[in-house]
């Protein structure tokens, strides 16, 4: 069987894991190289073990574990409030979703009602988080294709958003803002005006990025047709978020199963049809615009007074009744979920964090890498938008 036939047989069947014939490594025809764990093209510390024939990848194995700190096990031995310092570290560029879902799971099991103002503040916080994360992703994607101007712009703009986070929560990266029952603080005075200014800057920047990056001939030539996700892979691999929406799949938890106050906000689910790295990028670019718009809507509609925290007992005395729940939210990469089991004590019995990178970065990546040119592997990896810490937790 020739190499191209082998690749074809793998691509035709979504459940084909192994090469039909093992590669004869002693023949001298193939070279094995490692991409990562430290590499600017990979979004975080994980590595790809690549087997090359010339400059084409014929086999890919992923290796994770470089960031394994056993978060889920750690949480079983800490009180509910102590865990807040743990959860936000599970997805470094996007910690707010961990805070929200952890708090939401506790509220769900305890039957706690959250004041409306707190829900608005949470929605605003999550959208700001999405904006900051998309800004970082655009920079990463552009950098892996050799366009180094855009990352400088987006990382600077992300810093403005981090300034807003600092004002709102006291922290730039790890906020620990959304606690069970509500949020820790209301917005500081004059926050809305300052946030609108940052949104205006971000809006202008997105238009420039569209011109410089998405209309760039080099970027187009390399990203179009890279890492095509065919429709039969979507459910077989559990593909969610912009990776699925880039294939025309109209699924978005914010719309399909609205949480917080997303049912009161005006937005559409953004899709594209190219199914490749370029169209996944386009979806994310449009969703960045959408986040800016949603932040403006939140600031406009949000009540400026009222309770932002439900009446809660002393944090050192929290006991959550026995129960079980699974809560989820749409992060920048798709369905992010927390599965929690409690047994009525001061400690959680089990937490499982469901991160979208788990499927995107391992099984899907191993599948899409085959047949790709070695020069495009970093771009392919970033186009799937993966964060390794949420894989190994």
């Amino acid at each position: 069987m020739t190499l191209s036939e082998q690749q074809f047989s793998r691509n035709a069947d979504p459940f084909n894991y192994e090469l039909p014939e093992p590669l004869d490594m002693a023949s001298g025809k193939y070279v094995k190289i490692w991409q990562g764990p430290q590499h600017p093209g990979i979004t975080g510390n994980m590595s790809l073990e690549l087997t090359l024939d010339g400059d084409t990848i014929v086999d890919c194995k992923t290796h994770v574990g470089y960031l394994h700190r056993g978060f889920e096990k750690l949480m079983e031995g800490r009180t509910f409030i102590q865990n807040f310092t743990v959860v936000c570290r599970i997805a470094v560029p996007e910690p707010a979703f961990n805070e929200y879902l952890y708090a939401k799971a506790i509220e769900d099991i305890s039957g706690l009602e959250v004041p409306e103002r707190a829900d608005w503040l949470r929605t605003l916080n999550l959208e700001m988080m999405r904006l900051a994360s998309f800004m970082m992703w655009i920079g990463g994607m552009s950098g892996t294709f050799g366009l180094y101007t855009v990352p400088n712009w987006t990382i600077a703009c992300r810093d403005y958003v981090l300034d807003l986070f600092e004002e709102m929560t006291g922290g730039r990266i790890y906020h620990m803002y959304m606690v069970p029952g509500g949020v820790r603080a209301p917005l500081p005075e004059g926050f809305a005006e300052r946030a609108i200014k940052v949104m205006d800057i971000a809006d202008k920047l997105i238009n420039q990025i569209e011109k410089v990056m998405f209309n760039n001939a080099v970027f187009k030539a390399r990203a179009k047709g890279l890492g095509v996700i065919t429709p039969d892979l979507i459910d077989a691999y559990g593909i969610v978020g912009p990776n699925a929406r880039g294939c025309g799949i109209k699924r978005d938890l914010r719309k399909d199963e609205p949480y917080l106050l997303y049912d009161q906000l005006d937005f559409d689910v953004i899709t594209a049809t190219g199914s490749d790295a370029y169209d996944r990028g386009l979806v994310r670019l449009e969703e960045t615009r959408q986040s800016i718009d949603l932040i403006r809507q939140c600031l406009k509609n949000m009540p400026t007074d009222g309770a932002f925290q439900a009446d809660m007992p002393n944090v050192l005395h929290w006991k959550v009744p026995a129960g079980e729940t699974y809560v989820k939210a749409e992060c920048t990469r798709g369905e992010y979920g927390y599965y929690m089991v409690t047994d009525g004590t001061e400690y959680v019995r089990r937490i499982h964090v469901r991160g979208p990178s788990y499927t995107h970065a391992i099984s899907l990546m191993e599948r899409l890498a085959v047949g790709t040119n070695i020069a495009d592997i970093a771009g392919l990896m970033v186009s799937l938008h993966t964060y390794p810490p949420e894989i190994e937790r």
Binding site: P14, F15, Y17, E18, V64, G65, H68, G70, E72, K73, L74, E76, G77, T79, Q82, D108, L233, D235, A236, Y237, G238, V240, R251, D256, E257, L316, G323, E324, T325, Y326, K328, E335, G337, Y339, V341, R349, R350, H352, R354, Y358, T359, I362, S363, L364, R367, E392
Partner: protein
């Protein structure tokens, strides 16, 4: 309706509606794979959100939970399947979802549950050269492991937050908050 049929055909038990969009059920180990296949093929539960495990050491079982999602119904269905803690083994579902083998490989490493036939199930996932008890089991003592592996560093002490705060807030009453 669906749950009634499943009760009749598969003998599911412990049906609990956890919230408006999520229900959990329990099924016997030998019927588990068949039930999951039926839900995926006939009932529209096409999305596998995750596979996880809860260690019920007091009952001597591992409860494996398969979280399925239906995009049509917009509902999650958690299926609990209990396996014996002594010789844990479960039917592999890697033929149903192409990402399932990753979860199974993780459960093999973290809990020691075997999934015969699952691709690369015995390969290391996160841990390299691990020769101890699978670390996510309840009886794995992280403190003891860390003390043995890394030793004590001078100048580092940890306090129980509750006792510390009591002593700080109520010093005149000997830390008695009453």
């Amino acid at each position: 309706m669906l749950l009634e049929r499943l009760t009749k055909e598969f003998g599911i038990t412990d049906i609990v509606e956890r919230h408006a969009r999520m229900t959990t059920i329990k099924v016997d180990k030998d019927k588990g794979e068949r039930l999951i296949r039926e839900l995926r093929d006939r009932e529209g539960y096409v999305h596998l959100s995750f596979v996880a495990c809860v260690d019920y050491i007091e009952r001597g079982v591992f409860s494996i939970i398969y979280m399925l999602h239906s995009y049509d119904e917009k509902k999650d269905l958690g299926i609990h399947i209990e396996v014996d803690r002594e010789n844990p083994e479960m039917t592999s579902i890697h033929t149903l979802w192409a990402q399932a083998w990753t979860y199974q490989r993780e459960l093999r490493e973290m809990y020691g549950i075997n999934f015969p036939g699952s691709p690369r199930v015995d390969e290391e996932f996160c841990l390299e050269g691990w020769d101890q008890m699978p670390p996510m089991r309840r009886d794995f003592d992280t403190r003891k492991y860390s003390d043995e592996q890394f030793g004590h560093r001078e100048g580092r002490a940890s306090e129980d937050p509750r006792e510390h705060m009591k002593a700080k807030l109520y010093p005149n009453r000997g830390g008695d908050e009453q």
